[in-house]
């Protein structure tokens, strides 16, 4: 097992954000964690990359105890976390952002990785001298993903990559994720866009107020009546999604 999240709990003060959550990622699969706003999806990724401490439980990656390492140490193991809201360094150039993605790697590795990223996202090559803050939302997402690829990731954690993007761009981003996965990078993705996430995922989990309530192969979950009701089917959900997307523009 590549990543093993073993019965972890995380609390912010008295509020438990995650309760006894276990899941795993193996091989080169895509694992999706779905859930509403505030279900604890972001907290789960932040716990894996060391940004929030565990109250109990353990996180193993390749046999190493991640929960005992600082965030920068976890990143250097090849666990790449692409945070919610992209978080590109706005006043650094596109190229500097990419270089930092490979921080601590040799010059040669950085150069090679940058060529790969430019091949995947030619627009970033055109804009490499521009400040990252001047890119559009979609381009910033590409930069955030490209920056994550600079370290030849052994595992990629993706937090709401579709958030705030136009539908066309959402499709593009998901296509890119599949392409990255096809090159052998396992991916753990958390998404509110359940339909899209279930389309590309091999395994999926549903998180509700800090607890995993349902787990299984993505195809089975997509067919599950409860999931269809709560996350896919209901006209309500579609309406909410559209409202959210239009708000973002």
């Amino acid at each position: 097992m590549l990543l093993e999240v073993d019965r972890i709990s995380v609390a912010y003060g008295a509020v438990e954000a995650l309760k006894n959550v276990s899941l795993s990622v193996s091989g080169a699969e895509i694992v999706a964690v779905l859930g509403a706003n505030g279900a604890g999806k972001t907290t789960l990724l932040r716990a894996i990359s060391g940004l929030v401490p565990l109250k109990s439980g353990a996180i193993l990656f390749d046999g190493k105890k991640l929960h005992e390492l600082p965030p920068h140490g976890i990143a250097r193991l090849g666990v790449v976390h692409i945070p919610e809201g992209r978080r590109v360094f706005a006043t650094l150039t596109v190229e500097e952002n990419l270089n930092l993605g490979g921080y601590g790697c040799s010059k040669d590795e950085v150069k090679k990785a940058k060529d790969r990223v430019f091949q995947l996202f030619p627009i970033l090559k055109e804009r490499r001298k521009q400040l990252a803050g001047t890119l559009s939302g979609g381009e910033q997402q590409m930069l955030a993903i490209g920056r994550g690829l600079m370290r030849s990731p052994k595992l990629m954690l993706l937090d709401e990559p579709s958030l705030g993007l136009a539908p066309l761009l959402v499709d593009q981003v998901f296509a890119t994720i599949v392409e990255i996965n096809n090159q052998g990078v396992p991916i753990l993705i958390v998404e509110q866009n359940a339909r899209k996430a279930l389309e590309i995922a091999d395994h999926a989990h549903i998180l509700e107020v800090g607890r995993l309530v349902l787990s299984g192969p993505a195809r089975e979950l997509a067919a599950d009546e409860r999931v269809r009701q709560a996350y896919l089917g209901g006209a309500t959900y579609e309406r909410r999604l559209r409202a959210k997307e239009s708000r973002a523009h």
């Binding site: 990359s49 060391g50 940004l51 600082p70 965030p71 920068h72 990143a75 250097r76 790449v80 976390h81 945070p83 809201g85 978080r87 360094f89 706005a90 006043t91 650094l92 500097e96 270089n99 930092l100 993605g101 921080y103 601590g104 400040l131 990252a132 803050g133 001047t134 890119l135 939302g137 920056r147 370290r151």
Partner: protein
């Protein structure tokens, strides 16, 4: 014309002192959003460390090294010693307190400033100490009616070189990009594998080291040092930091030089007694009309 050139030269010299010290404020502020009020007194500590090396090493190695060797030894010792003090202060006075909040950290910084100036007084005494001629380059060139001191040229050249190196490191290298990334968003920087503690230590070592060099130069330039000098220069350099735009490295340099020139020309054309009035009036005007300082912050955020 004579006054103009002479004051221009004086202003640039004093301005380099301010720029050196201002950089320390700016570096730490950029990364921690903390005003390190102890920084002025670290500058004072540097002046005393340099003095000590000059006085005590003069008899021992001075003859062997010659004036320039002795000067180099003094500068290196002052810079290293003060950098070490900066790192210790970061460890004992800021790191444990910083998570509590910014205000407690500022209070801790003020406490550290008081501690340091009293420490200097306790060790070296409250009286003025004289930087003796034997370890100051006293030569000068006369060009027509102008007199250019070797010391002034040394100050200007070394400030250009050192500040140029710092600028290059922070703006052009990947480590520098990491420093700026930590300043912008420490959490995301950590996700890039950047150890923010290393970056913080860099700021707390390099800032005080540059301050120490300025401290030794001030000792040579004015021939005397006192335990209160940290407070005076700290305040002026802090003003320079604000004028140039805090958290901004070129801004600290520009602010420092601007302040030096303003002081020199006020002293030359109006009266030396008025120079602080002009300095702080400039600060007030800047805060009213352009609070981000001369070089302000680049604004490129678009989410």
């Amino acid at each position: 014309m004579l006054t103009f050139v002479q004051q221009l030269l004086n202003g640039l010299t004093i301005g380099s002192f301010y720029a050196f010290v201002a950089l320390g404020y700016s570096l730490v502020y950029a990364i921690l959003k903390l005003i390190n009020f102890a920084h002025g007194d670290l500058f004072g500590l540097g002046a005393y460390l340099g003095y000590t090396v000059f006085v005590y090493a003069f008899g021992v190695i001075g003859a062997k090294l010659g004036l320039w060797g002795l000067l180099a030894a003094g500068f290196v010792a002052a810079a290293l010693g003060t950098a070490a003090a900066g790192l210790i202060i970061e460890r004992v006075a800021y790191r444990p307190i910083y998570p509590i909040g910014r205000l407690p950290a500022v209070v801790s910084a003020l406490g550290m400033a008081i501690f340091l100036s009293n420490f200097i007084m306790a060790v070296w005494g409250p009286r003025y100490l004289a930087y003796q001629e034997s370890f100051i380059p006293t030569g000068f060139w006369e060009i027509g009616e102008f007199r250019i001191r070797v010391l002034q040229v040394l100050i200007l050249v070394s400030s250009l070189v050192l500040l140029g190196i710092l600028y290059f490191v922070v703006e052009k290298t990947t480590f520098g990009a990491a420093v700026r990334a930590v300043a912008l968003d420490r959490e995301t920087a950590a996700l890039m594998g950047i150890d923010s503690l290393k970056v913080i230590r860099f700021a707390f070592a390099v800032g005080p080291a540059l301050g120490a060099i300025a401290g030794v130069f001030v000792g040579m330039y004015y021939r005397q040092i006192n335990f209160t000098m940290g407070w005076v220069y700290g305040l002026k350099a802090f003003t320079a930091t604000i004028l140039g735009g805090i958290g901004n490295i070129p801004g600290a340099m520009v602010g420092g030089i601007f302040l030096g020139l303003l002081e020199a020309f006020t002293a030359g054309y109006i009266s030396a007694a008025w120079k602080d009035v002009f300095v702080f009036a400039a600060l007030m005007l800047m805060l009213i009309f352009r609070p981000t300082g001369l070089l302000g912050e680049k604004v490129a955020e678009k989410v």
